[in-house]
């Protein structure tokens, strides 16, 4: 797949389940696609931590958070496989991440700008996980997704702390 067509495929894949989530019935029907989207965004978040954006935080922290994201992606992938559903194209480069989550900081961006992008990426993944929670009754999936979301909350707290932002009452 060329770089351009890969980005187009990622964008199309990203748009479909979110558009389908417009009604409760559609959201239920799109549960596997939402879960696939969550898997894709977990991998995108891992790539973001491994990229220039991740250099906004210490290297060992970025590496640890990237590992967390890949572990979370594995958990979501296993749930997908149990449903007999397929994964979406896996983001592998910063261009792939930027196609899914706009706003990738430029090479000369400040550390704060890079951290703010990581916050945006974490929120993008959280938004999709939240959609998954609304679209399924599978208790084990709900528990897994809730556990992933809580861990994402700890990531956000660390990132916000580095930015000097206080803890927030809402997402």
């Amino acid at each position: 797949m060329t770089s351009l067509s890969r980005r187009e495929a990622l964008l199309l894949a990203a748009a479909a389940p979110l558009a389908a989530a417009g009604s409760a019935h559609a959201a239920q029907a799109s549960f596997p696609s939402l879960l696939a989207r969550a898997h894709q965004l977990e991998l995108a978040t891992a790539v973001a931590y491994e990229s220039t954006a991740g250099s906004g935080i210490p290297g060992d922290l970025a590496a640890a958070f990237a590992r967390h994201e890949r572990d979370q992606a594995t958990a979501v992938q296993q749930a997908l496989e149990a449903l007999g559903a397929r994964t979406l194209d896996e983001p592998e480069s910063t261009a792939d991440v930027a196609a899914l989550v706009p706003g990738l900081p430029a090479a000369g961006a400040t550390a704060d700008e890079r951290v703010r992008y990581l916050v945006t990426v974490e929120h993008s993944a959280l938004d999709v996980h939240r959609s998954v929670l609304g679209a399924t009754h599978h208790a084990a999936v709900l528990r897994t997704v809730a556990s992933v979301m809580a861990a994402a909350g700890t990531h956000l707290a660390v990132l916000r702390d580095r930015l000097g932002d206080p803890p927030a009452a809402t997402l």
Partner: protein, 158 residues
Amino acid sequence: MSSSRRGLLLGGAALLLAGCGARAAPEEDAAGPAPAEERPEAELLGEAIAVKEMAEAAHEDARLAQIERTHIERLRTAIRALGEDPPVVAAVSEDDPETAEERTIAVLQGLLPRLSDPELRGLLADMMVVDAQQLAVLRLQAGADAAPGAFLSPGMPS
């Protein structure tokens, strides 16, 4: 989270999904069966209020206590929207703030699969993520690793 706990989570997810697939009636969709919860949702939200009242009482940091009060008011509003009166809770907590937050996250995670209304699940999930942030803030203040694992499930056996 240890790999064994992660394995438990993953194994549980796979087993349950496999089981659901075997039982699925033709009219069931991929979202799975609705929870077989007998207690009214307002009562379940009341449980969330109770644990959040305890967390508010445990917090020494005014900012974190205020966040709990904000959540409590939202839960009260949600209960009123269901046509019920929110419970009056006079909470006293002997927990330290970190333990109180872990307890809160565990309770909210336990309530999520029991709620049939997706909007209410979203409300509790949002609060649970904020509670996880509060837990991380407390860990940062203590000089501990604020985000040690890929999964955060205080209510799961280790």
